[in-house]
């Protein structure tokens, strides 16, 4: 059974993503070959990267793989990263695209089992609204989940999402609109059940 980490939003963001200035110093050190700086970067960005991956792929093992491969890809490319730009959006773009790649390949991977809704250790916890959100997210198309995660977790603008996913901006907006409609319906139902 998968252990579930319940983490408060603002605390998570503060803990996992430091200021761009901090990132800049760490990237510079990592580019010079500092293992400590590399570890600090990975640890700092892992929670959001993993969370974004999980919310999109909805599979615990796959989320680990996606987050890990994205981190590796970013570290491999770090020597060519323009350190004058913020690191997080660049990394998150890699994560989301890797998550979508995984989902597109999933139907051809027989070993991938659809995971049931995540459960906590021990007794069944009382569902809260965020649990309903996960279930509602699962009902969305992968592309819709990706734009929701990019917009509302990773705080990309629609224009940035269009760039990250190489989509027309109108497509991003329509996907967001449809996703929000469906999420709203599911969450209304969730509230009624609570």
């Amino acid at each position: 059974m998968t252990a579930i980490a319940r983490t408060a939003g603002p605390t998570l963001r503060e803990a996992s993503v430091g200021s761009p200035d901090d990132d800049q110093a760490l990237v510079a050190a990592a580019q010079e070959g500092s293992g400590e700086a590399t570890e600090a970067l990975v640890r700092r960005h892992w929670p959001v990267a993993h969370r974004a991956a999980y919310l999109i792929v909805q599979d615990a093992a796959a989320a680990e793989d996606v987050a890990q491969e994205s981190m590796l890809a970013a570290i491999d490319a770090l020597d060519r990263f323009d350190n004058g730009r913020p690191l997080a959006p660049w990394l998150h773009r890699i994560v989301v695209n890797n998550a979508l790649k995984w989902l597109r390949a999933a139907p051809r991977r027989r070993e991938v089992a659809v995971e049931s809704a995540p459960e906590g250790e021990g007794s069944q916890p009382t569902p809260v609204l965020s649990d309903h959100l996960l279930i509602a997210l699962r009902a969305l198309d992968a592309d819709q989940r990706a734009v929701v995660v990019l917009r509302y977790l990773l705080e990309f603008t629609p224009g940035e999402i269009a760039g990250a996913l190489e989509l027309p901006r109108g497509t991003v907006n329509s996907r967001l609109r449809r996703a929000l409609d469906r999420l709203g319906e599911a969450l209304d139902l969730g509230r009624e059940l609570e």
Binding site: R43, W46, H50, D79
Partner: protein, 432 residues
């Protein structure tokens, strides 16, 4: 529901614990940064890089990134063999006669059609077609090539050159010089008349450095050959270094062509230890993993290299025989007899139809290789990339490449058309 509320819910939604994965990632990333390329880079002999590779690059040059990724992003399929065995082709290949020159006539049609969601500017057509017609004579000391490259816009580009191995010179006729005029904002003009009235000229060669000259220095034992081909695939930077080029991941050579740091390089630890450390790290290191999307899977790259060397006129009969043995063991290669190529010639057909990948934008790829059943020579190579949606006329073809060999024969000398270039070569050599 407000945007802030949704953001809060996404930030607080329960996600599985991933502490072990984090630790694994930290360890692997640290190893990558601290000891990249710690082991010495093992040199490889210069090898023929392959016309087929050039043509696929030409596809990309036409803007067909999706097609290129699709062509490169194949995985091995199940093994199946029908009819005549690959081994019989190996036997035929090993008896091919050698000659002073190998004369090859071939033509290639590349067609790329953009998917509907790609917005193209007015200056870019939705369908791009290129046609190449080439006559080639390749020997131990000289290479003569003439032909045309036609993109359907304006006159076709003529190709005509003679390269000489010993002197390192390549000679062009006057027709290869292109007149041009530049008008600067200041009104100053700079023009070149194309050298009208001048004869052929010879210059230190750039063609020789592209590896298209030399015979493949590969083993002819099938097992050793496969290992060598896999080495080529796993060390693409070495090939780039030999050509003085650098790829978009920074691998290769610096501007002067000198070897530089190798970011992907050999593993910093022995393979067996690395596997224990992290399987994914090893896969990524080798460029074989599902996430290294720009790297073709090993099987597809092997297939591609086998074809490249099979059509290389400098490949020895022994090497070609070994290549067929490698092909026989390759997952996804299926041999069918009593087929015909696009010119209606009787042929044996090797098909390679790998499964879809996450990178091919919903396209399927089929590669067909037609072989002369009498001589084992390649008659035709066809690559088709088409959308998976739709049927019949709605099944959109994204890209196709058909390379047809109409002649392949031994020759004792270069053709008469090469004579002016040979004369110029002799004169240049005499002048020192």
């Amino acid at each position: 529901m407000s945007d802030d509320r949704l953001s809060d819910l996404l930030r607080s939604a329960p996600v599985p614990d991933a502490e072990r994965a984090l630790k694994r990632t930290v360890d692997t990333c640290r190893a990558r940064v601290v000891a990249p390329g710690a082991a010495p880079v093992v040199g490889m002999p210069r090898r023929w890089t392959g016309r087929r590779g050039v043509r696929i690059v030409a596809l990309a040059g036409a803007g067909a990134l999706a097609t290129l990724v699709a062509l490169a992003g194949l995985r091995g399929a199940s093994s199946e063999t029908e009819g005549t065995s690959f081994g019989s082709f190996a036997a035929i290949a090993s008896t091919q006669p050698d000659a002073k020159f190998q004369h090859v006539e071939w033509e290639a049609l590349t067609r790329h059609s953009w998917p509907p969601h790609y917005a193209q500017g007015e200056q870019y057509p939705d369908v791009i077609e290129q046609e190449d017609r080439v006559s080639l004579w390749v020997g131990d000391d000289q290479r003569y090539e003439r032909g045309t490259h036609d993109e359907g816009r304006g006159p076709a580009t003529e190709v005509d050159y003679l390269s000489d191995r010993e002197s390192g010179l390549t000679c062009f006729p006057n027709s290869m010089r292109i007149p041009f005029e530049i008008v600067y904002e200041s009104g100053e003009r700079y023009s070149y008349d194309g050298g009208d009235g001048k004869g052929a000229s010879c210059t230190p060669d750039s063609f020789l450095s592209h590896g298209m000259w030399t015979e493949p220095e590969l083993p002819t034992d099938p097992a050793a050959l496969r290992e060598a081909l896999e080495d080529e695939i796993r060390n693409p930077a070495e090939l780039l270094r030999q050509r003085g080029e650098r790829d978009d991941r920074g691998r290769g050579a610096d501007r002067e062509g000198a070897p530089d740091a190798e970011p992907m390089g050999p593993l910093p630890v022995p393979l067996s230890q690395a596997i224990e450390i992290d399987r994914l790290a090893v896969i990524a290191e080798l460029g074989l993993g599902p996430w290294s999307s720009r790297e073709s899977p090993l099987g597809q790259q092997l297939y591609s290299r086998v074809i490249t060397y099979l059509v290389n006129p400098r490949s020895s009969p022994e090497l070609r025989a070994a290549l067929f043995e490698v092909l026989a063991d390759l997952e996804g290669a299926v041999l069918k007899t009593e087929q015909t190529d696009s010119l209606g010639r009787e042929a044996a057909l090797v098909t390679y139809t790998p499964p879809r990948t996450e990178d091919n934008e919903g396209a399927t790829i089929r590669e067909d290789l037609y072989l002369d059943p009498e001589t084992s020579q390649v008659l035709e190579i066809a690559i088709l990339v088409e959308s998976e949606s739709g049927a019949g006329a709605d099944k959109r073809v994204w890209g196709s490449y058909v390379e047809t060999f109409t002649a392949r024969e031994p020759a004792d000398s270069l053709p008469p058309e090469a004579e002016p270039l040979q004369n110029e070569l002799e004169q240049t050599r005499a002048e020192g």
